[in-house]
Symmetry: C2
Subunit: 195 residues, 2 copies
DNA sequence: CGAAAATTTGACATGACTCAACTGGAGTGG
DNA sequence: CCACTCCAGTTGAGTCATGTCAAATTTTCG
């Protein structure tokens, strides 16, 4: 159960002693969610940061016109939650729900704070994690600014072939910021071109 | 000269001793750039992370069609550079240049690494910095996905009134992902409505 | 002052959206 | 096992926001 998380930490060059692993384990809890279940709903405060060890979630926002917009898909080995709400204690504007049965290891903000105090090198882990995240936000932003819908779809296929298999097309459309109809047309056109 | 940086660190609840401040100062250098000067050019490796103490920069990317797309404006008290290149040592795909005469305090990746080793609590500073950055990328992404050009312009005005004053409109258009012509029309329309 | 850059305006093109209808498969209950 | 419903996906027709191209006008600054 702990392998994925501990591996993930080690891969970032943060080496924990058995004691430190013990502390970490005491500050996380294991929780299961069903497909379609919410991990976080708009208006609630995000009380936990969740490391996914099985399953797949999505973070989305509902705009004034009632449209859903998917910000991210988070499969195994990713963290999910709403950082802004988690840190500030204010209600979230995002929803997080499960596209498959999902299991997470989660920690509350108080426990995470304790973790940083007793195992300061975890600051490094999260620093590196966030760095990676910023880098990918930059890429996505650049692609949103400069590319057409079909180019962004191609990019998505290249980058997340696994997720493509696991979620229905209308959710991919929402992630790309287009309508399901447009995605359908894009797909039929790129097939014509023999790919 | 050091005030802005030291204040910025303190504001994130990281308290440095005089010794630690000394270490920090020994690992940063002061550098001035002229308006229009590049801090980083596409194809170069980003060797430094720069904390701006005076002036204003922009980070942009040039796409295949030769179009510029501005990813961010960075005024005083912001960091600029290309994290991906800075960390990986690979050539950057971004350009960073100065929209005004600019002064920075900068550190190389080797020196930053030294800083983390001798003053581990700086991990916390950067962790918090990156958190904030991720939160704002999320907001921008959500707004890119769900809002029209004119709504995004209104949002920009609210959020960055100071930057609005300091940069020409065509650069704001590039940041918003629209053409200068479109921005001009948006502006004239919102004036008609008496604002 | 004069050249270069920024902004505005007009005419037209187009990518993506909306609304609506249709298809096809997955599940459900009689 | 069939009829029925539900949902995802597709397709068509018309609309709209934004882009493109071109030219005129205004501003900036050496």
């Amino acid at each position: 159960m702990w392998d994925l998380l501990l591996e993930n930490i080690k891969r970032r060059d943060v080496h924990l002693s058995p004691d430190e692993i013990g502390v970490l384990q005491s500050l996380f809890t294991h929780k299961k969610f069903r497909k379609h279940q919410y991990i976080l709903q708009e208006g609630e405060v995000s009380t936990h940061d969740n490391f996914i060890i099985k399953g797949l979630c999505r973070t989305y926002r509902v705009d004034e016109k009632g449209q859903e917009h998917i910000l991210r898909f988070t499969p195994e080995e990713w963290w999910t939650g709403d950082l802004a709400s988690f840190l500030s204690g204010k209600p979230s504007i995002y929803n997080v729900d499960c596209l498959e049965d999902t299991e997470v290891l989660r920690t509350s903000s108080a426990d995470l704070e304790k973790l940083f105090e007793s195992v300061p090198k975890m600051n490094k882990y999260f620093r590196l994690l966030y760095q990676k995240s910023i880098i990918s936000y930059n890429l996505r932003l650049a692609s949103n600014l400069s590319k057409s819908a079909s180019e962004r779809y191609e990019e998505f296929i290249q980058r997340y072939p696994d997720i493509l298999q696991r979620v229905p097309n209308h959710q991919i459309a929402s992630y790309l910021g287009i309508t399901p109809q447009s995605l359908s047309r894009i797909r039929s056109q790129s097939q014509e071109k023999g790919r």
